[in-house]
Symmetry: C2
Subunit: 336 residues, 2 copies
Amino acid sequence: MARISLKDIAKAAGVSVTTVSFVINNKAREKRISEQVVEKVNKLIREKNFTPNTIARGLRTGKSTSLGLIVEDIGNHFFGNVAKTIEMTAYKKGYKVLYSSTDNSEKKARELLDMMKNQQVDGYIITPTKGMKSAIAQLKKEKKPFVLFDRYFPDLETNYVVLDNFKGAYDMTEFLIGKGYRKIAFVTILNGMNQMQNRKQGFKKAISDKGKGKVEGLVLELPYEITAEGNLDRLNEFMESHPDVDALFFATNYLGILGIQYTLRKQLSIPDDIALVSFDDHDLFRLQKIRITVVAQPIEKMAAEAIDILMKLMAGEPSVLIQKTISPEILIRDSA
Amino acid sequence: MARISLKDIAKAAGVSVTTVSFVINNKAREKRISEQVVEKVNKLIREKNFTPNTIARGLRTGKSTSLGLIVEDIGNHFFGNVAKTIEMTAYKKGYKVLYSSTDNSEKKARELLDMMKNQQVDGYIITPTKGMKSAIAQLKKEKKPFVLFDRYFPDLETNYVVLDNFKGAYDMTEFLIGKGYRKIAFVTILNGMNQMQNRKQGFKKAISDKGKGKVEGLVLELPYEITAEGNLDRLNEFMESHPDVDALFFATNYLGILGIQYTLRKQLSIPDDIALVSFDDHDLFRLQKIRITVVAQPIEKMAAEAIDILMKLMAGEPSVLIQKTISPEILIRDSA
DNA sequence: CTGAAAGCGCTTACAG
DNA sequence: CTGAAAGCGCTTACAG
């Protein structure tokens, strides 16, 4: 029952391992192996159900035909679906994927990257944490194929695929202003990376561009680490000190969910008592009686871009710079 | 910038590769390498930032320190969170994890398993599809460490971790009967594996045990492949032919979500017009005005059990049989 | 058209 | 206490 090796096939076929290696690597033509030999070998491979040992091949070639995927949290709807698309494409192209979640822990992020380097993955798709900057710079210096996802470092030139976060926030804010809201609060998290900064800036810019001095824009920044319960309290306090806020714009879907909890608890009805909109779509937003208007990220498209770019980098020149900013979609529903 | 190898360390330290290998594998004591040598080697390892090449080690030892995780769909809330827990534990123990989704496709499932075998993963956690039975039997014959998750083959003895699906459905049905519902419809999917069968049987048994002839139990089985829209139509038709159904019990969370869509579309109010309960918890079920009563699966506990069992199997005797049936929790909320 | 041999970077039985 | 050497299963430059 021992695994069967290339050598076994060679012996059975009465040819050398070289020959067998050529046929399994489709170099038979190029190396001008005779038709009969090729056929004999292929027949044996089928009969014995032989598949080359990927590890040995990896050692020899320095390629592992595997990719490393580092996300923030694979259990989260956004990243889970990103992982899904990436996996599907990767397997189709013959790549395995190793994944892991950083949970925004710097330590874990660094360890993961080391582990993946060690494992000689051929390419990386990374949702970086703030502290990963030097590790990413290192990766770049080593000329490893990688693409950053969802966020990047403005002062470090790399390949990336991100949403146009500024535009998403800007457009949504403009939409709210157009609807007549006059005191809009943007609820976001502190310590976010540039994707969160851009959302905040988009919001502020729209307030100043489109508000014409008549619209007030407030920003509430919640810490990342706190519990949902704690955040709910903070939101509560905030709303008590600003009772005349007429629209809430949440910067991520889990914050939006928090917002729904808040309105449920306060028995506020949307959009009559207050408008509620959010970044990121979510089942919850679609399947309420009052459906929530959102800035949606085209998840599949973004993931497909990322893996596509990575494949290109791995195929050829890792020196090209490919940066994609994907347009968000504003899905207008009932909540504003 | 070339990767630094064990040999480089040996040369720099003026010792043999054997010695270096012993120290990196913590066999220094056992092999009685002198303290000074150990220290010199360790110092160089730190200085040169050396980490052994996992691939080479894998080839030599036949172990890859990686696990294969095959789920139905990593983008789905349940499996995404399973993946999260498994990954966290695995990395803590020094294992990488390769994942992939079957989408219940037999072909894909078989290919994935082959790919993982090829990759020499040390152990498997598998959510099997129906057609994987022979492949699983084969895995068992090869004495590979593996544990089935969420479902298993009743006529094939294997390690597994599953929910007590029968009990979950039984208890929930009993709860509905106790609440006074008299015509209960169980909405499930066709072609499901034994986890779905058990849910249906639990439902039926409770109807006959607890209904005392006064409660009618109906079953609607929807095909797996159909779109959400198609399923909605089927549900619609079903309800039109059975307008007096007073409670709907959905067998999975995505079916429950379908149910919510249905009530939204029909403007039915829960629980006044109709009761709605579901298997599996979901954000959507918690964060409605009317919160949905569910049979919850303790996801983390189940995932933790699975990886724990796998670690045990990999450490020792893969011949032991470990089968865990986890109790569900009925979370009573407002929808019935 | 085909093969012998080196080598990828490790581990480990054996020898001293 | 330490090292020389074989070998894991492949690929590939070289030779014929």
